[in-house]
Amino acid sequence: MKNPPALYLEADNVTPDGFAGKTAAQITELHVHEGNTTSTLGKYFEVSGNAGATAADTKIIVKGDVKKVKYLGMKMSAGEMVIEGSADQYVGAWMTGGKLLAKGNVEAFAATAMRGGELIVEGNAGNYLGAAYRGDWRGMSSGKILIKGNAGSDIGMYMTGGEIVVNGNVDVHVMTHAEGGKTIVKGNTKSKLGGQLVDGTIIVFGNIETMMPGYKPNGEVELEVDGVKALFSHYIGDMGERHKKRKGAIVYGNLYKKI
């Protein structure tokens, strides 16, 4: 990356879909935005190699310091993208397919309303990972997210499907308002897990600082999670929230904590 911007860059064109069918020269001409000014990708990046004919056969490798670049991989539908360092907000937001790997950290709103594909972050993820956009009741509905470090608050808010795995710790609020999907936290959690959750599964390997009162103890079960067989204490909830019925029986959300 050259001519680092004074403020932040918005690079929503940097996706396999945005590059597909373009030569290096054409890609150089794609727009990026710094505040209310518009310039081209070429002002900040050297572009080498041509894109594939379609998104699916396009692979992008983003080198250099992109800590202040937003929207990398936004709305990507296919293909592959690798961010070698850390990126700012909205990495892979609204993505529907393809594989996106960030070797560093990503900031808030990564994989917002994700509908498919795979996001892997080797560092830490920020707040609202795989959450819905403001006001929307349709959060992450499908796909897989793996965070090897820690994640922030509000992960999986309004989640309806798909899976989030966090190898490290997470901050407050996990799967608030969720109506499906699964979140696995290998490290520790703080509080407010599964608040207002209609349906879905939360699995915690570490400890839970404060349990939501809406979760009712429901005995112990042995589960195999990510190849780990262990005994978990089982809770159902959120008992304060509405729940669907299946075959006349109420379907509660499930929270499992490793013993």
Binding site: A108, F109, G126, N127, Y128, G152, S153, D154, D171, V172
Partner: protein, 135 residues
């Protein structure tokens, strides 16, 4: 090694703060209304401080001198209250959790007696922290 205690700091409105901001934030009355920390009697005792002593309040985010007074809306052991304003905002947790809202309520702080240190006026306090050159 001065004695110190840890409290959970919250900031908020008081009617005196309301009157003072309308009366003029450049005036000493603003400092009188907001350059204070309301502490529970038990906490004042634990700190070994008399009512109306100047104290230094320190968090991970900053440090400020205010006057420790007895809680007017207590008891609230373990909770310190600084009326909203520059004194509180010198130390509250700016973390918004990506909601846009700082954590104005619920910041762990350390309290130490600082009898000889002055409490700055509101505007002065902010200018000093920002390094604004004033003529």
């Amino acid at each position: 090694m001065t004695k110190n205690i840890t409290l959970n700091l919250i900031s908020g409105r008081t009617i005196q703060q309301g009157v003072a901001i309308e009366g003029g934030k450049e005036k000493p009355s603003y400092r009188t209304a907001c350059g204070i920390i309301e502490m529970d009697n038990s906490d004042l005792k634990a700190l070994g401080a008399w009512k109306s002593t100047n104290v230094r309040v320190t968090s991970d985010h900053g440090s400020v001198i205010v006057k420790a007074i007895e809680a007017t809306q207590g008891p609230h052991p373990g909770v310190g209250f600084i009326p909203m304003g520059p004194w509180a905002n010198a130390i509250i947790d700016p973390n918004t959790y990506s909601t846009g809202m700082p954590t104005f309520k619920g910041t762990p702080v350390k309290i130490e007696v600082a009898i000889n240190e002055p409490i700055l006026l509101g505007i002065e306090l902010v200018q000093k922290q920002c390094g604004v050159k004033v003529g």
